[in-house]
Amino acid sequence: MKREDHAGVAGRALAALEQFSLPEDAPVLIEGSYVVAYHVLNGLMHKECALPEDRHINSPAHSPLSLDNLPEAVRPVWQAFEDLQELRIAYVWSPGTPSDDLQKRLEGLWQVFRAANQLSKN
């Protein structure tokens, strides 16, 4: 998949997620952000020539790569994706109710994804 395709999908998914809200849509917002993160990460990896367009990383947890051996521009997205993995375990696969700071944490991640997606398009 080409970087412009990843950027398009990520942008549309981010826009679609705006119709959902916490706390009732917490699993939806977290899992939806997972789709966004996948496309933003791979689009930017392609842009930085760190990954060919015929190869993809499903998530940091399933990759042999680590933060240290990534291009500088990709690192904030990688870290945001790792944060998202923690949120998934905490709120989608654990019975806990969303904490008060979940909105703030998600907004922080979306900010990283939006900025990276813009970078990926240029």
Partner: protein
């Protein structure tokens, strides 16, 4: 998690599905369909007594490497203790599966296997493929104690 926790997550994903367009929002739609199916699977497995409901504090686990899941002894033993399976293919070999559970796992596996082209790609979702996804999800859901009709 408890059956009720899974049902609440199914309902959240189904509310989202009812507000999304399966073609325009294809990536999110197919992803949410699979996630709803995974929670249906766990609710059904708990109901049948195949896997235990786990009280607050326990977590589902995922292997560090999807391809090495079956060979990784630590993962295998952790999974055997865990109540929830994130994917149908993470079933520990020693867990005995009934005929009904086998049908459920087969249908969820179909969604899991086919989703990649649509969630991680831009392959157009044909009406025929959409019908197959819906059919598989409805079969999975029918085994779970989720109230109401699926909004698909």
């Amino acid at each position: 998690m408890r059956i009720q926790d899974h049902i609440e997550r199914v309902q959240a994903f189904e509310r989202a599905l009812s507000r999304l367009d399966p073609h325009a929002d294809m990536q999110l739609y197919i992803w949410f369909l699979e996630k709803a199916g995974a929670h249906c699977m766990n609710a059904a497995l708990h109901r049948w007594g195949i896997t235990p409901e786990i009280p607050e504090g326990a977590e589902a686990i995922e292997p560090p490497d999807e391809n090495a899941a079956w060979e990784d002894a630590a993962f295998y033993h952790n999974m055997a203790r865990a109540g929830d399976w994130i994917h149908s293919r993470y079933k520990p070999d020693r867990v005995k599966i009934t005929k009904e559970a086998g049908i459920l796992l087969e249908k969820l596996f179909f969604i899991e296997e086919e989703r990649a082209d649509y969630v991680r790609g831009v392959k157009p979702l044909s009406n025929e493929m959409f019908a197959k996804f819906k059919n598989a999800y409805q079969t999975v859901r029918a085994f779970a104690p989720v109230p109401g009709e699926p909004p698909l």
